[in-house]
Structures are given as structure tokens and as C-alpha cells.
């Protein structure tokens, strides 16, 4: 243990002093330049009350690690190919099972029309496609009301294709950017959805299906102001085995969930002026799921929004804060509806999560940053839908949770 600590400190000192420099690597392949980039981060989370994000945070947990590595190259002037591998361990989630994060062939016919296919990052709001890349922003954790990290797998990418482009508007009216996509979504079995289901003795073997949607954003004539909207729809199926609470003696029986409706609408705005950045988003997510042909049908309605601001005071120091608000209602029907009681009162801590956050980010050099973040949360939102607080790691919930997140990351 002592040697490990010494080794970690030595690496940190070398990075800081510049004796080890992280540089993007590149090499030639068939006369094309292949770029190699990567990132890694390690976090430590301590909470005063409930355990958070499937970690034993009340004891302090460092089970908060992720990394990615990608390679990309231009195949022709208009065609670019690349792929990225991503892996993470977040408490009980991820568990170091690497995944192909994206693998894309991107052909841009014109600035206003391009096509990309393969496993493509899903454009949804300001940060869905970059939510793993914490070195891009001031905060250690994005507002969980709109970007729940435990459900990252549900929206991060699709196997299919995108049409995209940028259209410069005449009369100096700014630029419109669009993306329309369709494909297959396949959730990790190590995500929050599957983990929460296991609490109810439902063990998924697969969850996914058709996903399609679009995004339209307008870089307005007012310098630094961008507004946009996204919509995503899913036609999902989950296959699992479970123990029926009405007949536990039968042991594991097949379980199938189909979505009657699964959609999200997201609206957002961003304003940047020099070292100041302000953004705000609203997302509404509705999922109507039917289990075993009507044994139980649950309609979940999640609404979340946040407003955030960050300011870079000096080149190496930025401070930020956000307020994030999340509420959930769920209504069930069918013979086994009693096992999922209706939850409609969002004033209850079980049906909401309000989070006030302050963050400081220090860039030790161009490649390495350290963040310290405080969360002051009211509510735990533990319901039929995951939101960071899980009954498996909490014997009982308390209404308020304060959290300290310390995270460091490198990227090249």
C-alpha cells in the first residue's frame, strides 16, 4: 500500500513538473495520419448521509474511475473513420467491462450535409454526447437532473446513422446546425436501470431497441448565444428473468418489458462571453412500460432542469455553480400494480432531488486538472426509475445529503 501511494505521488509530481508530458500521438498508415487520443479520470466521493451513485460514499469511496482511448484518421478528403473504447467503474456500475464507445465512418458531402454511420454518439441537448469528457467543463458531475451518470448507457450512442450539417443563414442571422438519427440502442447490463431492477429480483439479459430523434440548434446573431431543442424516441424491449412476487415458489420465470412510449424532449440555451459561460436545460422524459403483456404497466414522468454558470478567473482556475432540479411521478396499472404504488406527490423527498453545487477547477497543466465540488442535495428520488440513490446501498433514506467530490483527470 505504501509503495502504491509513493508510486502515485511520483507520477503526479512528474506530470506536474512536466518531466512526463502527455502528447497526442500520431502515426502514418497508408500515407494517412492516424491520431491517437485518450483520457482517464479518478474521483473520490464522500457523503454525510445516503450512499450515492451505487458507491459506499458515506464511508468515502474512490470507486469512480473511467478512461477512454481513440484512434481516427481521414480516409479521404471527405471521409473520416475512427473508433473509441471506453471503460468505467462507478460503484456497482460499469465494473470495468470495456465497451466500444463509438466507431464511425463520417462522410461530409457539403458543409450543410454529411452522413455518419456505425456506432454513433447520440446528439441530445448540450452535453449528452460529451458527458464522459469531464475535462471539457468546470464541473466534476453534470447536473444529474438532466444527465444522470448512472443512466449514461441509455442515451450515449446508437448503432445506426446520422444526417447532419450546418446552414449559414442569410442576412447575418447566424447558423443552424441539425442532426437527425436512427439506430439501435443497447443498454449495458452494468447500468443503473439493470442495477435498480435487480432490487426487485428482475435480472436483465438484454435491454434496448430502436431509437430515433433529432437536434436543431441555432447559433444566434447575438455573439455567444446558442439555443436549441432535441427530441428522442425509443421503441424498447427488455428481456429478463424474475421471481414473481405473486408466485415466488415458481422460481425464476421469463420477464419481458416493452415500451408503449419512450421519449424525451430537451430544450437548452448557452451563453458564452469571454471567460463566462452560462447554460440551462430542461428535459422531460416519459416512459410507459408494459411487463409480461399487461401484468403491470407503469408510466414514469421525469422532469429535470438546471441553470449553471462558470467563470475562469485565471488561466489555471475556474469556479462554477449550478442548481439542478429533478422530479418524478409514476402511475401503475394491471394485476400487480400494488407492487409499484403510485407516486405523484413531488414534494416528497422520494419523488424529487434538488441539488445546489459549487465547484473549483484547477488546471495543473494543459493535460491535467483537479476539481473539488460540493453538492447540497434535498430529496433522493428513489422510485421506479434510477436517479443516483439506490435501495441496495441504503438501508433507509434520509431527506438531505451533502457530498464532496474530488476528481482528477488527464487527457491528451
Amino acid at each position: 500500500m505504501h509503495r502504491r501511494i509513493v508510486a502515485v505521488i511520483s507520477v503526479c509530481l512528474c506530470l506536474w513538473s512536466g518531466q512526463v508530458t502527455l502528447k497526442a500521438q500520431e502515426f502514418k498508415l497508408f500515407d494517412r495520419t492516424v491520431q491517437v487520443h485518450g483520457f482517464a479520470s479518478q474521483g473520490l466521493v464522500y457523503t454525510n448521509e445516503n450512499n450515492w451513485l451505487t458507491m459506499n460514499t458515506s464511508q468515502g469511496s474512490a470507486a469512480f474511475t473511467d478512461f477512454g482511448l481513440n484512434m481516427s484518421a481521414p480516409a479521404t478528403d471527405k471521409l473520416r473513420v475512427g473508433a473509441q473504447v471506453y471503460d468505467r467503474n462507478l460503484g456497482q456500475l460499469g465494473q470495468y467491462h470495456p465497451s466500444l464507445d463509438w466507431a464511425v465512418a463520417d462522410y461530409r458531402f457539403k458543409p450543410w450535409f454529411g452522413v455518419r454511420g456505425g456506432k454513433v454518439k447520440t446528439t441530445l441537448g448540450l452535453y449528452n454526447d460529451t458527458q464522459d469528457l469531464d475535462f471539457l467543463r468546470t464541473f466534476a458531475l453534470l447536473p444529474q437532473s438532466v444527465y444522470p451518470t448512472d443512466l449514461r448507457d441509455a442515451s450515449i450512442a446508437h448503432l445506426g446513422g446520422d444526417l447532419y450539417g450546418n446552414i449559414s443563414l442569410k442576412h447575418r442571422l447566424g447558423t443552424l446546425s441539425y442532426a437527425a438519427y436512427a439506430g439501435h440502442r443497447s443498454d449495458s447490463l452494468y447500468s443503473g436501470n439493470a442495477y435498480l431492477a435487480s432490487e426487485y429480483r428482475v435480472y436483465y439479459s438484454s435491454y434496448g431497441g430502436l431509437q430515433y430523434g433529432g437536434d436543431l440548434r441555432w447559433s444566434t446573431p447575438l455573439k455567444g448565444l446558442l439555443i436549441g431543442a432535441s427530441r428522442i424516441d425509443g421503441d424498447l424491449t427488455g428481456k429478463a428473468k424474475f421471481i414473481n412476487p405473486l408466485n415466488p415458489g415458481a422460481g425464476f420465470v421469463p420477464y419481458a418489458e416493452v415500451s408503449k412510449a419512450d421519449w424525451s424532449n430537451q430544450f437548452y440555451g448557452e451563453y458564452t462571453a469571454g471567460k463566462l459561460r452560462i447554460d440551462s436545460e430542461y428535459r422531460r422524459f416519459v416512459h410507459d412500460g408494459i411487463v409480461n403483456r399487461g401484468l403491470i404497466e407503469t408510466v414514469t414522468d421525469v422532469r429535470g432542469w438546471y441553470i449553471s454558470g462558470a467563470y475562469r478567473f485565471i488561466k489555471r482556475l475556474a469556479l462554477g455553480a449550478y442548481y439542478s432540479r429533478y422530479s418524478i411521478t409514476s402511475v401503475s396499472g394491471g394485476p400487480e400494480a400494488a407492487y409499484a404504488p403510485d407516486q405523484t406527490d413531488i414534494s416528497l423527498p422520494a419523488n424529487h432531488l434538488y441539488d445546489k453545487v459549487i465547484t473549483g477547477r484547477v488546471d495543473l497543466n494543459r493535460f491535467w486538472n483537479v476539481k473539488v465540488e460540493g453538492h447540497f442535495m434535498n430529496g433522493y428520488g428513489a422510485s421506479t426509475y434510477p436517479d443516483g440513490f439506490y435501495p441496495q446501498v441504503n438501508s433507509h433514506f434520509k431527506p438531505n445529503t451533502n457530498a464532496l467530490v474530488v476528481k482528477t483527470g488527464v487527457s491528451f
Partner: protein, 228 residues
């Protein structure tokens, strides 16, 4: 007294420092494969933000960055409206989502020129003082200051009597690049009779415009009327 002078000098140097840094003038350069002589400010921005990988005439284009320095800062401020940190964050978002690459980054003007000279479609920037042999200079047409440069001295083109008698006439359209000092730096034929264009070019090259803050471009049409 001596130390007071020294302090004053230091204070002046400190105060002038930022001014000098801001005063860096930028020249946009391109590989000779880039056919255009003029690029709009919007198009230049789109190329550097990787929203475009070809110019409006279809020529392949790819950006080349300087790593740091006053010229780099001036370019970012003048043409991209972003800080160095913002731009790097922007590129990283592209790189790590599979939507773009990190542009080539070089340290000195000499390295940028050497790279741009050898890389098809490359577009970069160097100090306006730097000699740019082996690459072409692109004028940046800012929609905001096109045609705002006042023509101070105009020289009419020659029109040989022989051509008039043969009834050879018409209009010649030229794209004219005007240096910050006001002299015509480059002329490109956009249309018209090639013989008449020669006369038009030699005249327009002698024109003088009002001085401006940066290199600009404008379109000029010259009429050759054999009946006059």
C-alpha cells in the same frame, strides 16, 4: 533619480506590453492547391472550426494552428472570437466524440509556412511581417468592410483603337485584394474577355484605396465600350 527613471521605463514597458501583443498582424496563408485568392471571414472560421472541409469553390481545405504566441492570440481573437482554452475544448469535444480531428499545431511561422507549402489544402496564419515564399496569401473578405475602402486614386485601363475598331468590348469582372495600407495586392479575373482583362488588371494594380485595419477584398467591374 536614476532608479525612478528605471521604474518609469519598466512601467512604460509593462503598459506597452499588452498593446504590442495586441498589435500583432496576421496574414492568412494557403497551400497553392487552394485556388481562391480571397476567403470570407465566415468561411475561414468554418474551416478552423471544422464545420467545412472544402471551400465554396470545392477546393479541399484543412486548418493549421500555431501552438501559442501573439500571432496565434490575434488570429483567435480576430477571426474565431475564441480564447485558446475555448478552442482546445472545442477540438477535444470533436476528437472524443468522433466528429473531428485535432488540427496540426506548429511552433513557429517558418514551420507553419513549410507545412502549409507541402500539404494540399492547408490553410494557416503567420505574422504579416513574415516572408511567405512557397505559399499563397489569402485575403480575408469581411462582409462588414467590403466596399467600405474608399478608392483614392484610379487609373483607367488602356483600350487599344485596334480592339475598338474590331468591336471587341464588354465587361471584365475582377476580385481585388487591398492591403491594409491601401495598395492593390492581388487581382483575380472573375469573368470577361481575357484580352481586355489584361488591360484591366494592369490598370487596377495601380489603384490606391484608403488605408484600413486589415486586408480586404472587393469586386470591381470595368466596362470596355467600343462606341465611346
Amino acid at each position: 533619480m536614476k532608479s525612478l527613471r528605471l521604474l518609469s521605463l519598466v512601467a512604460v514597458v509593462i503598459m506597452l506590453g499588452p498593446v504590442c501583443a495586441h498589435a500583432a498582424e496576421v496574414k492568412i496563408i494557403a497551400n497553392p492547391s487552394v485556388t481562391a485568392n480571397v476567403i470570407s471571414a465566415g468561411e475561414l472560421k468554418s474551416v478552423f472550426l471544422e464545420e467545412k472541409n472544402s471551400l465554396s469553390d470545392g477546393t479541399h481545405a484543412e486548418p493549421v494552428l500555431k501552438k501559442s504566441g501573439p500571432v496565434h492570440e490575434a488570429f483567435l481573437r480576430q477571426y474565431l472570437g475564441r480564447t485558446d482554452d475555448d478552442l482546445r475544448t472545442y477540438y477535444r469535444a470533436l476528437v472524443f466524440t468522433g466528429r473531428g480531428s485535432m488540427p496540426k499545431e506548429l511552433s513557429s511561422d517558418a514551420e507553419v509556412i513549410a507545412y502549409v507549402a507541402g500539404k494540399r489544402g492547408a490553410i494557416g496564419y503567420v505574422s504579416s511581417e513574415t516572408s511567405t515564399e512557397g505559399v499563397k496569401t489569402l485575403a480575408v473578405a469581411d462582409a462588414g468592410n467590403i466596399a467600405e475602402r474608399k478608392l483614392i486614386a484610379r487609373v483607367d485601363p488602356g483600350y487599344p483603337e485596334t480592339l475598338k475598331r474590331l468591336n471587341i468590348g464588354g465587361t471584365v469582372r475582377l476580385q481585388v485584394t487591398i492591403a491594409p495600407k491601401g495598395n492593390v495586392e492581388n487581382v483575380q479575373v472573375l469573368g470577361g474577355n481575357p484580352i481586355l482583362a489584361e488591360f484591366a488588371i494592369s490598370a487596377v494594380k495601380q489603384w490606391v484605396y484608403a488605408a484600413g485595419h486589415s486586408r480586404t477584398s472587393t469586386e470591381v467591374t470595368i466596362l470596355f465600350d467600343p462606341r465611346r
